[in-house]
């Protein structure tokens, strides 16, 4: 019973904060709503008893990604006076239609499908099980992912650095 209450609390929180991200008029407010929304997803992982992913979520999304986004926002403010800018393009009504369409299709598909297996309660995924799968069966993808991170890091530095005579 308590789990349900907490689930609904955080689910509605995630939806409200995500709506704040996409409907807010200020870019900084959007970024701060994003922090809350990503932390809420981390709580979802806790309720799903996947603690490793919850920790990763808090560390990488709650910490690194949102700080990076906030930094980029502050570095790319065209108008530092802070007055409300026009944040949506003229295509926004059509984007709303597309969003409603996507939501309708996904909801109908997810709720009308008969899922095979236990859909009532989650099974605990131990951190040992994740590490065993990751390092035994997904060893090569794991190494490729680390190379990807390194390449992206070097690429980001090269793209963003100030060149001579600029």
């Amino acid at each position: 019973m308590a789990t349900e209450v907490i689930w609904w609390l955080f689910a509605l929180g995630i939806i409200a904060l995500s709506a704040g991200v996409v409907f807010s008029r200020s870019v900084i407010h959007s970024a701060i709503f994003l922090i809350g929304s990503l932390a809420g997803v981390g709580v979802m992982f806790v309720i799903l008893t996947v603690e490793f992913l919850a920790l990763t979520q808090f560390l990488i999304y709650g910490g690194a990604v949102t700080v990076l986004v906030l930094l980029a926002l502050m570095l790319t403010r065209a108008d530092p006076s802070g007055r409300a800018e026009k944040v949506n393009g003229p295509q926004a009504p059509f984007a709303l239609l597309a969003g409603i369409g996507v939501a309708a299709v996904l909801l109908v598909a997810a709720l009308s499908t008969e899922w095979a297996g236990n859909t009532e309660s989650p099974t605990n995924i131990a951190i040992e099980a994740i590490s065993q799968r990751l390092f035994e069966d997904f060893g090569l993808p794991f190494i490729l992912a680390s190379v990807l991170l390194l390449v992206a890091l070097v690429g980001a530095i090269i793209v963003a650095r100030q060149e001579e005579g600029e």
């Binding site: 490793f52 979520q57 990604v65 986004v69 926002l73 790319t76 984007a95 390449v151």
Partner: protein
């Protein structure tokens, strides 16, 4: 306990909000934030499927780890490009950055 369908519905709604944000916003950083929302919706789905339907093999949880890795790489590189764009063009508006070369 909470049934699987609740997670799928939550993920669908967050994903649709992300789709709206990607299509409607003009600022490149705000589009990136909406992309992060969509990636997180997908992560909820993957982990929910792993915990409910696939507890023996947990491939969904492994996929979520890789999605988080790739999303971190993506956001770092994309923000570098946005900062570069802002330095050259003094704007982060994607409508004004329609040319490949200038």
């Amino acid at each position: 306990m909470v049934p699987l369908e609740n997670y799928l519905a939550l993920s669908a709604i967050v994903f649709a909000l992300g789709v709206y944000g990607v299509l409607a916003r003009r600022n490149a950083v705000m589009i990136l934030m909406s992309v992060e929302l969509m990636l997180n919706a997908v992560n909820i789905n993957f982990v929910a499927f792993a915990a409910y339907l696939d507890p023996g093999r947990i491939v969904g949880a492994i996929f979520a780890v890789f999605i988080i890795t790739v999303a971190a790489a993506e956001v770092g590189l994309a923000l570098a490009i946005v900062i570069r764009l802002f330095r050259n063009r003094a704007t982060a508006n994607v409508d004004e950055a329609a040319t490949m070369k200038w």
